[in-house]
């Protein structure tokens, strides 16, 4: 069986005049269905770039990317939109809820673009909000919620479309440690329910809660293995930083 996500020799190179920034410098990675993977690395190492490519928000300079066995390299803008809509759920560091829509409308947005009926949109959005414990806030606007609640709403939005992969870029980055832990608990619960999760973080203690850790340094994978095994590497790296 082929992997759900399969990156092969992915390069992402930004050219600025004579300068060349290799945000991703030959990444090969495959993630199976049901895995909980943490991508970890220092600031500027290329984590977000990697996730944007996995999330079909950006295209690689070279290399092949197969999602669910399909090479999406030659997809058009609209085809990529459809892939994002049907297969991917995003959780961003800055929540990225639309401020003028209430929670219900925000969570229903992926379903709107999927062409679901009004009744189905409402039903599934409420179910998703219930799952994150925000059903009673359905009519509230994002600005009326705490950061943790907003992040839970964005998780509900990622879940609403029932995607194959949940991609979370620093989901706890803007939260205090307690609410951050709540969010992590939640992601772990989703994993235990069978969801595939790719989590990006620079926090080792958070990465340690995943099943598998991929460490990126300067656009290259330097470690890929069990979360416990990475502990040593991270300590060494930490020692080197100071």
């Amino acid at each position: 069986m082929s992997a759900l996500i399969e990156l092969k020799d992915i390069y992402k190179i930004y050219r600025m005049g004579d300068n060349e920034v290799r945000a991703l410098d030959g990444i090969s990675l495959s993630i199976d269905k049901g895995e909980f993977v943490a991508i970890i690395g220092k600031s500027g190492s290329g984590k977000s770039t990697c996730m944007n490519i996995i999330g079909c928000l950006d295209v690689a300079t070279s290399g092949t990317y197969r999602l669910n066995g399909k090479n999406i390299g030659n997809y058009t803008d609209d085809e990529l939109a459809e892939v994002r809509n049907k297969m991917l759920g995003f959780i961003f560091q800055q929540y990225n809820l639309l401020p003028k829509l209430n929670l219900l409308e925000n969570v229903a947005l992926p379903l709107v673009y999927a062409g679901a009926s009004d009744a189905e949109q409402k039903e599934r959005a409420i179910a998703a909000l219930e799952k994150v414990g925000l059903k009673d806030k359905a009519k509230n606007y994002p600005s009326q919620l705490s950061g943790g609640q907003q992040q839970r709403a964005s998780i509900a939005r990622a879940l609403a479309g029932n995607p194959s992969v949940i991609l979370a870029d620093e989901p706890t980055g803007a939260l205090d440690s307690k609410t951050g832990r709540d969010v992590m608990m939640f992601l772990k619960q989703l994993h235990s329910e069978g969801n595939t999760i790719v989590l990006i973080t620079h926090d080792n203690s958070i990465a340690a809660q995943a099943q598998r850790v991929v460490r990126i340094t300067d656009g290259r994978i330097v470690y890929d293995g069990a979360a416990s095994g990475d502990d040593v590497v991270s300590r060494q790296e930490k020692a080197g930083e100071y």
């Binding site: 944007n52 999330g55 928000l57 950006d58 803008d77 609209d78 939109a81 459809e82 994002r84 809509n85 049907k86 995003f90 961003f92 990225n96 639309l98 003028k100 947005l109 992926p110 709107v112 673009y113 999927a114 939005r157 479309g161």
Partner: protein, 391 residues
């Protein structure tokens, strides 16, 4: 995403920034109301002129002979003889104008008095409500009698009994033998402000021995042009040089007038159209700003699976809605101003035509969609990752 949802979203976005939306609409509001006002007022004015001409009889033909230059003149008897022998022309009457001061003990007014024959009343379809019209005997005996309009009956005499009373025209006393039916509120300068006397008496007042102008009527409304040319032929034989007479049919005059009014209206509407163009550019400008401001929103929507056509539709409908609301406000203000201006300036009740309203509404929708297209296209083609990173 359906149209209804886009529309609802557009309305709430517009409502969320009321002042800005209103300013965006202003160009369209001004343009559309200007068009509505101009079209309505021009329509009213044209109608008024047409009514005025129609009142003189659409089948009437005016003949004027330049007395001094012409070696020969046309006597009334010769004119009657011509009309009797011509199937196209029904009737003729001398129609002389006398500049006159009309005076009674109550009132004194300068104006004009018309000298006509006994047939004139029927030709112009004048209804006499009291007394009678001028008769053949009055013409023959050059009687000092007159038939007056409702305005004169009201202003020159104190009470209802008018027949048999006397008024002075340029100092000569005339006896009122008839009063005409009221047509236009008996107002001064209207069709009710008239004094008719026998043309022979008018010639005496004018101290002239010839009749220089006639009113003729065509027998058939559809053959007015033929009647006009037969009259021209007659005059050519009689008077000679074409420069010495003038034949104008009311139909010709009305046609010319309506053509003139039409081209004037076209010019005015084109000028008003420029403000519509400016309004459209205003919408485009604000939509471009709006797309930039909402780059992040567009990025989020695209990350959640919005296709280009979804984003496109959202912005086009928003622009269309802004311009549509502007159009409706413009139509309402334009109609109100036109009705008011009609009352005050033309003294007529003017209503904007349904066609002008429908066209104005259509134009405003088209402007919104047309000028919203470019900004919407720009929004739709944003790269999702660039849009998400945008602050």
């Amino acid at each position: 995403m359906g149209f209804a949802k886009c529309f609802k979203m557009a309305v709430s976005t517009i409502w969320a920034s009321k002042v800005r939306s209103f300013l965006t609409m202003l160009g369209i509001i001004i343009g559309i109301s200007a068009v509505i006002i101009l079209v309505s007022l021009m329509g009213g004015l044209t109608q008024q002129l047409m009514d005025m001409f129609a009142d003189l009889g659409t089948n009437s033909i005016q003949v004027t002979i330049n007395q001094r230059a012409a070696t020969r003149n046309v006597e009334p008897d010769e004119m009657y003889e011509f009309t009797d022998g011509n199937d196209l022309v029904e009737n003729a009457s001398p129609s002389l104008t006398v500049a006159a001061t009309v005076k009674t003990s109550k009132e004194n007014k300068s104006g004009t008095v018309s000298g006509v024959s006994e047939g004139y009343g029927d030709m112009r379809r004048l209804n006499v409500t009291q007394g009678r019209f001028i008769q053949y005997s009055d013409v023959m005996s050059k009687s000092s009698v007159c038939v007056i309009g409702a305005y004169q009956a009201k202003t020159f005499f104190d009470d209802g009994a008018v027949i048999g009373r006397e008024l002075k025209i340029n100092g000569t006393p005339f006896t009122v033998v008839g009063v005409l039916e009221e047509k236009e509120d008996a107002a001064s300068g209207s069709g009710d402000d008239v004094v008719y006397i026998p043309y022979t008496s008018a010639m005496r007042l004018n101290a002239s021995s010839v009749v220089s102008s006639y009113l003729l009527t065509a027998a058939d409304e559809d053959r007015i042009d033929e009647a006009t040319s037969s009259i021209k032929q007659f005059l050519k034989n009689k008077v000679g040089d074409e420069d010495y007479y003038m034949v104008i049919s009311m139909k010709e005059l009305i046609d010319q007038m309506s053509m003139m009014m039409n081209s004037m209206q076209t010019v005015l509407v084109c000028i008003a159209g420029i403000s519509l163009l400016v309004g459209g550019i205003g919408i485009m400008n604000i939509m471009l700003v709006s797309v930039t401001e909402r780059t992040r929103e567009i990025g989020i929507r695209k990350s959640l699976g919005a296709k280009q056509k979804n984003i496109m539709m959202q912005f086009v409908i928003e622009a269309g809605t802004v311009s549509c609301i502007g159009g409706v406000i413009g139509i309402i203000t334009g109609a109100l101003v036109a009705i008011l201006a009609g009352k005050l300036l033309l003294d007529a009740s003017i209503t904007p035509s349904a066609a002008s309203i429908v066209v104005a509404f259509g134009v405003s929708v088209a402007i919104g969609i047309g000028f919203g297209y470019l900004p919407a296209k720009k929004a739709a083609q944003l790269n999702p990752i660039d849009a998400l990173r945008y602050d």
